[in-house]
Amino acid sequence: MIRRHALLLLAILGVLVAIVAIIFDNWPAVTQPPVIQPPNAPYTSYVSGAGLVEASSRNLAIGTPVPGIVKNIDVKVGDYVKAGDILFEIDDRDLQAQLLTATAKVKEAAASLQKPMHRLNNAENLRQRDPGAMSVQDLTDLRDETAQAEASLELAKAQVEQIKVEIDRRIVRAPIAGNILQLRMRPGEYVEGGSVVAPAILMGDDAKLHVRVDIDENEAWRVRPGAEATAFVRGNPDLKIALEFEYLEPYVIPKTALTGQSTERTDRRVLQVIYGFTRGDQPVYVGQQLDIYVQASPVSSERSRAGR
């Protein structure tokens, strides 16, 4: 009996093997779960954009009024400075040299004043005793000479002052209170005046930070001034920051991609909305990119309202 049905049993076994093989082959593949959970949008309806952290005072690229060799740097990276504190000094030996001659010239001018002044004094004393002893013309000449010598002295003094002001211009001071964010200069390096690509000192008030959010022009119409927003620190979605609306730049600019390549070309324009938050002890830094979600009304209702 068994022998007779052996083939039949074998066939049924075969079908079972096939079914097992099907189940085995269609078992879901082992996949890598996200290493770091991506952030979940905190609003039901929102616009997403990348935000760049900047100081609330904007990031100030400190410039020098006079190009030259750096003599002395009075701050370190991360220092907090008050408005008016000295940041760095440019080499001023040329002006110090000019100051020597200018100071000497003051003495010379002072000395040159003595002779006409004494002559004028004598003439005036003489004229008091005997009014006819000296002509009015001579006396006037003496007075003019004295006035001229006095003016020369004033000029020499002014030149000293001018050089002192020039020397003071070579000392660069903090325009506002804030932190030194970046320090590229070293003593002995030459700093350029005017607008430079890499500023020697970058400073800003980072007690309060701003986030410059790029909103794609296709979504810009959905963002209302004052809308709520939340920032997520990249790489740690648990670290989220509630943002306060600061202002909106009403000019839409080409998007800058942060690949750091000079050949970068842009194809989209973005609306920049600026949000703020107090830094506290949050590990967020100026120049960092954050993922931003800005609350916005749902598209469908916006469209119907616009259509009405």
Partner: protein, 397 residues
């Protein structure tokens, strides 16, 4: 009468066994061919399968598969993230790069750039490590992607980055974490080997972060190939795909649909697949032919018995039932055996690294195919039975 039919069938053990083996072989061949083809197609969408967490794939409006892609502007990511119902969306960059091994040999790799922040899309590492190692500078996880023996580096230190030209014919070992490659003047530091799903066509893979991919790959205007979106709980991937498409104008497909798209793309566009399909169909035809002929011969050789039965008063209808019953039973038992064989051999083949995947329809295809062929053969061999004269018994044939 059916009992007599079975008796006739099983009486001649040699013929019966031969017949069953023939049918089993056909069932095996058809199922195996179909499963092998399914295996190829499954490997074709391996990239989609290995990103199981992604509900919706968003791509340029003209892209139809993971095999032939073009890129989108970076702003697409933010636009997709702004669509309601997207729980999160991450970028994925695909590209091809020629990388050099330390001995100067070069190899074309597919570069897969995953999201820097979350590393969604990173593969499962072989030694069970965490893909967070990709955060290291120039780090890459290397995968053989279905190839073998391509990812090797010279054993000897003197053969690595030689100053006197390439050292091709030297002793080699498998790449391990810590080895280096060179692509487009960029260092690629291997931080691990992964074992993801093999690819079709097979190709070595480099998994790295999106920003590293931007440095490794040749300069291109756009780098963003896919955006992988995950739906909010309660929202179906299909609905989300429709919503993303309506809002952004980009092509958005639920993962399952995108797999289907990719398979369709292969069927329509890939010459390799056409050649393969032709060969498989050829194999199937041979199997079918053999089965049909075997069954026909079997019936024909038993004509005498039928003649006797006919003479004893069996109507043609009864005779037909008998023939079809024989054919049907042979087909059923044969395909059962064939399927079992296919399951066993297939799993061994799959373990050996070949693209074998038995899907629900492949054994069905084998069984139904064999059944149709058997019944057709029975129908053809029915003609002589019906035209039978009982005198054949005495004709001495």
């Amino acid at each position: 009468m059916l009992y007599i039919a079975l008796k006739i069938l099983m009486a001649d053990r040699a013929k019966y066994t031969g017949l069953l083996l023939g049918i089993a072989f056909t069932a095996f061949l058809v199922t195996f061919a179909a499963s092998y083809f399914s295996g190829f197609m499954t490997r074709g969408f391996a990239l989609i399968a290995e990103n199981g967490a992604a509900d919706v794939w968003v791509m340029d409006a003209a892209v139809e598969s993971v095999e032939q892609t073009t890129n989108m502007p970076d702003s697409a990511l933010d636009r997709i993230r702004s669509v309601e119902g997207v729980r999160y969306a991450v970028p994925l960059a695909l590209g091809t790069v020629d990388a050099r091994f330390p001995n100067g040999r070069f190899q074309t790799f597919q570069v897969i750039g995953v999201d820097d922040a979350t590393l969604v899309g990173a593969p499962v590492l072989k030694d069970g490590g965490v893909p967070i190692v990709l955060r290291a500078p120039d780090a890459a996880i290397i995968d053989d992607g279905g190839t073998s023996g391509k990812l090797v580096t010279p054993v000897l230190e003197t053969d690595q980055w030689p100053h006197d030209g390439v050292h091709l014919e030297v002793a080699t070992r498998e790449l391990v974490a810590g080895d280096e490659l060179l692509a487009n003047d960029q260092r690629i530091k291997v931080v691990g080997r992964s074992e993801t799903l093999p690819r079709f066509p097979p190709r070595p893979l480099i998994y790295t972060t999106f920003s590293s991919a931007a440095r490794m790959l040749p300069q291109e205007r756009h780098l963003l190939t896919f955006v992988l979106a995950t739906a909010e709980p309660g929202l179906s991937p299909n609905d989300l795909a429709h919503r993303i498409h309506a809002r952004t104008g980009l092509r958005a497909r639920a993962s399952e649909d995108f797999k289907t798209d990719t398979v369709r793309w292969y069927l329509v566009n890939s010459e390799d697949v056409g050649d393969m399909a032709a060969m498989l169909i050829l194999a199937m035809s041979v199997g079918f032919g053999v089965t049909g002929v075997l069954l026909y011969i079997f019936t024909y050789e038993n004509l005498k018995q039928y003649a006797v039965l006919n003479a004893m008063g069996a109507t043609p209808k009864v005779l037909l039932t008998m023939i079809f019953a024989q054919a049907g039973i042979c087909a059923l038992i044969g395909s059962g055996l064939g399927l079992g064989l296919c399951g066993l051999v297939g799993e061994v083949t799959a373990k050996a690294g070949y693209p074998f995947r038995m899907m629900w329809f492949t054994p069905l295809l084998g069984a139904i195919g064999v059944l149709i062929v058997s019944l057709t053969a029975a129908a053809i061999s029915a003609r002589p039975v019906l035209k039978l004269q009982p005198a054949v018994v005495f004709a001495g044939r």
